[in-house]
């Protein structure tokens, strides 16, 4: 089902979305890769806190190419990065900061799945390599945190987006997982293909 979503969204609403739904987002999203996740968790633990509320936005696994543009910034390309690297701490991040939507590439594993269920969030897959399309749907760069410390790809960038997608829900808050659902079908197909090679 195609859903046009305006951020922020509430967990009760997110719990209704299912694997296979395709989202187009309007509102504010922020980028975080490995380093930004770790830094935010550290700041929260030390009591310092972070200067924004991830529960009002969507979390984008992305290291963008950004150019200075007058007093601000312009996004050149901003496709998703491989999400599984963040599996190490994404469950803790979700439980601490409660972003309702994760945008990434390639899916994540059991710990993240469990955290999605407990906080009421979904993992969505954005088409790998579609960096120019993503940049076009980013209408403004609202700001950046930790640019000096982390550098361009690892900093937290805040993007205002319009109809950002297609974002395919591949892990939902009810425990469904597209990647796991596909596994038995693909395994059966592979068995058949290998048998065809043997018989040739």
């Amino acid at each position: 089902m195609k859903r046009e979503i305006t951020l922020p969204v509430q967990p009760e609403q997110v719990r209704e979305w299912r694997v296979g739904d395709i989202l187009f987002l309007t509102g504010t999203i922020f980028t975080a890769r490995d380093e930004a996740h770790l830094l935010m968790l550290e700041k929260q633990e030390s009591g310092e806190g972070i200067p924004f509320d991830p529960s009002q936005m969507a979390l984008f696994h992305c290291g963008p190419v950004v150019s200075p543009d007058g007093d601000g910034w312009k996004v050149i390309a901003a496709g998703p990065t491989t999400s599984i690297r963040m599996e190490l701490f994404e469950d803790k991040y979700l439980e601490t900061f409660r972003p309702p939507i994760i945008i990434g590439k390639g899916g994540m594993a059991d710990r993240t799945q469990a955290a999605l269920e407990s906080v009421g969030a979904v993992y969505t897959h954005y088409t790998g390599g579609a960096g120019a399309l993503a940049a076009k749907r980013i209408t403004a760069v609202q700001g950046v945190e930790w640019l000096e410390e982390l550098g361009m790809p690892e900093a937290a960038w805040f993007f205002e987006v319009k109809d950002f997608g297609p974002l395919l829900v591949t892990m939902d808050a009810a425990g469904n997982n597209l990647y796991k659902d596909l596994e038995p079908t693909i395994a059966a197909n592979v068995k058949d293909v290998l048998a065809r090679i043997d018989a040739s």
């Binding site: 296979g20 395709i22 992305c62 290291g63 963008p64 190419v65 150019s67 050149i76 390309a77 901003a78 496709g79 491989t82 590439k105 390639g106 899916g107 897959h125 088409t127 790998g128 390599g129 579609a130 960096g131 120019a132 399309l133 940049a135 076009k136 997608g165 297609p166 395919l168 591949t170 597209l178 990647y179 596909l182 079908t185 693909i186 197909n189 592979v190 058949d192 293909v193 290998l194 065809r196 090679i197 043997d198 040739s200």
Partner: protein
């Protein structure tokens, strides 16, 4: 594009490679979209095709990973410019990094330092081949990291034969799932030795989609592997669907009796490439 200086032609080729997907790849993606029955797979292909148009129309890189700039040079032995080629290519890459811009992607493995201009030890990497004549053909292949991470070498026991090669390719591509950003182009290098099989596999990626190996046995393996890998259902971006690969290309060398090296080189859908011809009179043009 008409005659240019070599500097202009190399700059134009790097820009074209980063921003305009070759027509044969666009056609392959369009055909994949037409036959895709999975709505989720079709949505991936729609986004890819729209992204390709946005990049071309805006003259911006189609992917934020603008790759490692890899060159294949067929240098005519009678060209008067052989001694200049390496310098011209390196200068073109640093200039293009600023102009296009390209993401600075070269990192020192020991210090972690990034010079910021895509230069470095052995970078940009240039594969040299001497050929007859006075023309020089320079092909650029900007290769992204996500798909390169999925490339692999297998040293198979020769007893498994060509069937063993086919099985190894299928099993490997399925194990990659969505990670190399399918639909991919797979270069299969067979024989030679460990390094030679990998190099042949990478050279196979340079071929156009729709081309076939002139040796009938190799062409038959290409056709069969494409059909079989697409029967696995991995699909665009690994979300399920009809097209996992746009093409499988085989290149091979004779092998040692005790060895059956198999290089499997994986190229993401953003199969970026461009070619420059430098003539003996010093004029150059972008020919593909």
């Amino acid at each position: 594009m008409g005659a240019m200086t070599i500097q202009e032609a190399l700059g134009a080729a790097l820009k074209q490679a980063a921003t305009v997907l070759p027509q044969d790849v666009v056609l392959g993606l369009q055909q994949a979209r037409e036959r895709e029955s999975s709505p989720m797979g079709a949505a991936q292909l729609d986004a890819i095709l729209e992204n390709v148009n946005v990049a071309r129309d805006g003259a911006v890189p189609m992917c934020q990973d603008t790759g490692i700039q890899t060159f294949f040079v067929q240098a005519g032995v009678d060209s008067p410019f052989l001694k200049n080629l390496k310098g011209w290519i390196c200068d073109a890459v640093t200039q293009a990094t600023k102009d296009i811009p390209l993401r600075p992607n070269t990192v020192d493995p020991f210090t972690g330092k990034n010079p910021g201009d895509n230069s470095g030890r052995y970078m940009p990497f240039i594969n040299w081949e001497l050929v007859d004549g006075s023309d020089v053909l320079i092909s650029v292949l900007p290769k992204g990291g996500g798909s390169e991470n999925m490339s692999t070498l297998k040293m198979l026991p020769p007893g498994v034969g060509i069937k063993g090669i086919k099985k190894a390719v299928i099993e490997h591509i399925v194990s990659c799932q969505g990670k190399p950003c399918p639909p991919t182009i797979v270069g299969v290098g067979i024989g030679g030795g460990a390094d030679i099989a990998m190099k042949l596999g990478k050279k196979a990626i340079l071929r156009k989609i729709g081309s076939e190996n002139p040796v009938p046995e190799a062409a038959a393996v290409e056709k069969e592997l494409l059909e079989l890998v697409n029967a696995t259902g991995v699909g665009p971006m690994g979300v399920g669907g009809e097209t996992t690969c746009l093409a499988v290309h085989v290149e091979y060398a004779h092998r040692h009796p005790a060895s059956l090296p198999l290089g499997i080189l994986v190229q993401c859908w953003a199969d970026r490439r461009a070619q420059v011809r430098l003539s003996a009179d010093g004029t150059a043009e972008v020919i593909a």
